[in-house]
């Protein structure tokens, strides 16, 4: 647990439809199981529709926190999409922030139309690296595709967070709370996704 009054601020960021909410839900459930107060603020007005989505997940002891993290106060950023990670970092990161990024781009409408450009992912990650302490690249989508469901990339990324050692929550807690959050039918798949994430960040 860190600065600013005994709390941990995590941002999970991505694009509508990437499963951001589920990802933050898993983290929050694990945190509650460890006795933390949790508040999640989600900016997802039109989450299904290609807009940016970010979840502020705030863990605290003692009392609950507001649903938004103050600027520059994110401890960890989990990026489900590289450009969104940079966007969020610009506002919420500081030189001590740690990040985990899925490098697979999701192109904004204006890029698809050819009106704007999507910079090379390597460049995005390099710039990000100049802003924060660590950038861990985890091929969430590719790993998830490998187990037959690209949509499970969000859970792979949570797995990476679980295995990172950057939260005060034991990795096993993430594994054990998964069944509270995910329907039985797709639990096995997501368990595999979570484990893939844990392994990949430990490599």
């Amino acid at each position: 647990m860190k600065q600013n009054g005994d709390c941990l601020n995590v941002i999970i960021t991505g694009v509508g439809g990437q499963g951001n909410i589920l990802a933050s839900h898993i983290l929050a459930t694990a945190a509650i199981a460890e006795g933390f107060h949790v508040t999640i603020g989600e900016t997802y007005g039109q989450s299904q529709r290609g807009g940016s989505v970010m979840s502020h997940v705030r863990l605290s002891k003692g009392e609950s926190l507001g649903a938004l993290i103050p600027r520059g106060k994110a401890h960890v950023i989990v990026g489900l999409e590289p450009m969104e990670t940079l966007r969020v970092a610009a506002d919420y990161a500081n030189p001590g922030t740690k990040t985990i990024v899925n490098p697979r781009p999701n192109y904004p409408l204006m890029v698809l139309y050819g009106a704007q450009e999507y910079p090379p992912v390597e460049t995005l990650l390099a710039r990000l690296g100049e802003m924060v302490e660590v950038v861990k690249v985890v091929e969430g989508t590719e790993l998830a595709k490998g187990i037959g469901e690209a949509m499970a990339s969000n859970v792979v990324m949570v797995g990476a967070l679980a295995g990172s050692g950057w939260t005060p929550i034991p990795t096993d807690t993430f594994i054990s709370v998964l069944k509270e959050v995910i329907p039985q039918k797709i639990l096995a798949l997501n368990q595999r996704a979570l484990k893939l994430g844990i392994e990949s960040i430990r490599k």
Binding site: N4, G16, G17, S24, H25, A28, T29, I32, F36, H37, V38, T39, I40, G41, E42, T43, Y44, G45, Q46, Q48, R49, G50, G51, S52, E63, S64, L65, G66, A67, L68, P70, R71, G72, K73, M83, L86, R87, A89, A90, D91, A93, N94, N106, Y107, P108, L109, M110, V111, L112, Y113, G114, E117, Y118, P119, T123, L124, R127, M131, A150, M151
Partner: protein, 646 residues
């Protein structure tokens, strides 16, 4: 098990604000709830309507056709003696306001609670408004929870309050509470068993000044109750020079601001949970000796102005001269300005820092500058778009084509909902008006009735399927009756997609997922005497021709563009695999010049700049196949799901 179902008092669980409100209602023994979906309020009834929830607690839950009907239905249940809940977003209260205005006067029997979820910052709305002004207008008690946990607690309390006062109570939530999640502790469930009965002496009448005066009496009673409410509290040192008066989300933001600035021992916070009528005495007592007051609230300076006018009677007698800060002084301002947009901890930190003359920087200036360069150089804006596979995209393409082919300067009148995006790039900028639900058809009643002034442009009104039932019907009847001529296009994606796929009267399922009488849009329209055509927007050419032909008719007509929302559909079945045959794709050549990516704009279609051809992002693609139909080169190929399985 879903935490809302648990009967384990004391257990700490994670809940979304809206679920917490729903749980509060359950803990209060609520038996009837109704709503029209609208973000950020939808999950309240959405949760209560879940078959497992409704069955377990034995309440009735419904998606009503619109907000006023929802409120009337809930009031009806209350008149019968049950505890009833009605939920809506800020737009909804405008729709419900006529009934609301009189039900506060008539009073009610069973606890009647109205939850309004505002959307500061308009994350999911076309308007930004502060519904709290209604409480004052209505003379109705207003509660503003500040945390997820309070959302539950105060909802439960609101039912008791309503019964004590014999009038409806209003709870105001906001996006950052309704759509936030937090941990809370479950309370006991009130297994209240009431047999509803409309007694011989029951009268619920709104009768002018007489009932108005009764209402004023109730309001004074509410004030007395509020003076003692646990939910109002003061935190901080005694004798503080500066006190923050706050409510709702402002509470935790203010706490964080003081903690961040290290001013917890110097500045006090007076948190109000009952913001109308104000607990006068409570406020005055806590401001003794205070010299500065900062108001922190979301959106309008509602509390700020009410408290200021209250204090005018006390300053110079019981209170010292106070300097006020807040929206009026400009200290509490979002990037749009004061009384605009949502507040956040940084806004409060800045306000307190300014007042106290403290230096605070969220990031060092060099860091902040680097960050802003990165933003401008490396990020592209993410405009909202219809989802991949969305039938609306095809429908808008259909309208664009039909209007061009008609060639008489026709235009489309829109309204809100997903297809409000029809005013933007994703809908080819087709919608030319954007107001409230059903307003496309209503406005068309005017523009479509100007022929005698030599107005000759064809008028098209779009409406969603759910909107059709919500508010478009009176306008359509008006068109028939008063002879307005326009073509209505009903975008029937068989769901209230904008707010999360709630069923509506056209679907044949009720809120709780049980079979319900299906009210077919085409039957209603035919009954009204309209010529009706139904097409699949994915069969673009047929749909274009149908719309074009309807526009040529002398009389008003209705085109139903029917195709299930891609998100609903892709939940149900395995998807077809769509891919681009790079050999055939002409791309930039004279021909389509990148039709699929540059023009049609489905988010699943990507332009491969290096290899100069389009490609399909299989993760985003829903397999709808409309691009394959539209690609002029037939370069997009479909492999059917059935074939893939083999």
């Amino acid at each position: 098990m879903l935490s809302i179902l648990l009967d384990e008092p004391g257990k700490r669980v994670l809940m979304m604000g809206n679920e917490a409100i729903a749980r509060g209602a359950i803990e209060a023994g609520m038996k009837f709830c109704a709503a029209y979906p609208g973000s950020p309020s939808s999950e309240i009834i959405g949760t209560l309507a879940r078959p497992d929830v409704a069955e377990n607690f034995g309440h009735h839950a419904e998606w009503s056709t619109n907000e006023v009907v929802a409120l009337e239905a809930a009031a009806g249940a209350s008149f019968g003696g049950l505890r009833a809940l009605c939920a809506m977003k800020q737009n909804g209260i405008n729709v419900a306001s006529d009934f609301l205005m009189s039900v506060v006067m008539s009073g009610c029997k069973g606890g009647l609670v109205l939850v309004v979820a505002d959307d500061p910052g308009a994350h999911c709305s076309n308007n930004e408004m502060d519904s709290r002004a209604y409480a004052r207008l209505l003379d109705a008690p207003l509660l503003e929870p500040a945390t997820i946990e309070e959302s539950k607690e105060m909802t439960r309390w609101a039912f008791e309050l309503s019964e004590e006062l014999e009038m409806p109570c209003m709870i105001r939530s906001v996006t950052r509470i309704s759509h936030a999640r937090g941990d809370l502790s479950l309370g006991p469930i009130n297994r209240l068993q009431r047999t509803p009965r409309f007694e011989a002496y029951d009268r619920f009448l709104s009768l002018g000044t007489v009932t108005h005066s009764v209402l004023h009496g109730k309001l004074e009673k509410a004030r007395d109750i509020f003076e003692k409410s646990q939910f109002n509290q003061y935190v901080g040192p005694s004798g503080a020079e500066l006190v923050i008066i706050t409510c709702g989300t402002g509470w935790l933001f203010s706490r964080e601001a003081l903690r961040t600035l290290g001013l917890e021992d110097k500045v006090g916070i007076l948190k109000l949970a009952t913001t109308w009528p104000l607990p006068n005495r409570f406020i005055v007592d806590h401001l003794k000796g205070v010299k500065q007051v900062l108001f922190v609230e979301e959106i309008d300076p509602f509390m700020e102005q009410n408290v200021k006018s209250l204090l005018a009677d006390y300053i110079g007698s019981e209170l010292e001269v106070i300097k006020f800060f807040g929206k009026g002084s400009g200290h509490v301002r979002s990037r749009f300005g004061p009384a605009l947009g949502e507040i956040d901890p940084d806004i409060v930190i800045r306000a307190v820092a300014e007042i106290k003359g403290v230096d605070y920087q969220a990031q060092t200036p060099e860091y902040a500058e680097r960050a802003s360069t990165l933003l401008s150089e490396y990020t592209a804006s993410r405009d909202l778009a219809f989802c991949a596979g969305c039938p609306h995209r095809a429908s808008y393409w259909v309208m664009k084509n039909a209007l061009a082919l008609d060639g008489r300067g026709g235009f489309v009148l829109g309204d809100i909902g997903c297809y409000g995006m029809g005013a933007g790039r994703s809908g080819y900028f087709i919608n030319r008006t954007l107001h409230c639900m059903g307003s496309g058809a209503g406005v068309a009643c005017g523009l479509g009735n100007l022929a005698k002034f030599e107005f000759d442009q064809p008028v098209v009104a779009v409406m969603g399927d759910s909107t059709f039932f919500h508010a478009a019907l009176p306008a359509l009847i008006n068109a028939r009756y008063n002879g307005a001529k326009f073509t209505s296009v009903v975008l029937d994606n068989s769901a209230t997609a904008m707010t999360g796929f709630q069923p509506h009267p056209g679907i044949g399922l009720n809120a709780m997922g049980n079979p319900a009488t299906q009210v077919l849009i085409e039957d209603v329209c035919k009954g009204l005497g309209f010529h009706v055509e139904i097409r699949d927007p994915f069969k673009v050419d047929e749909a274009v021709e149908a719309l074009h032909d309807l526009m040529q008719r002398e009389e008003s007509s209705v085109l139903i563009l029917r195709h299930t929302c891609g998100l609903v559909e892709s939940r149900k079945k395995k998807k077809d695999r769509i891919s681009v045959n790079a050999e055939k794709c002409l791309g930039d050549e004279c021909g389509c010049a990148r039709f699929c990516t540059r023009v049609f704009g489905c988010p699943a279609l990507i332009w491969n700049e290096k290899e100069k051809h389009a490609s399909v992002d299989e993760v985003v693609c829903t397999g709808c196949g409309v691009c394959a139909y539209l690609c002029p080169q037939s370069a997009i190929e479909v492999e059917k799901a059935e074939e893939l399985q083999r």
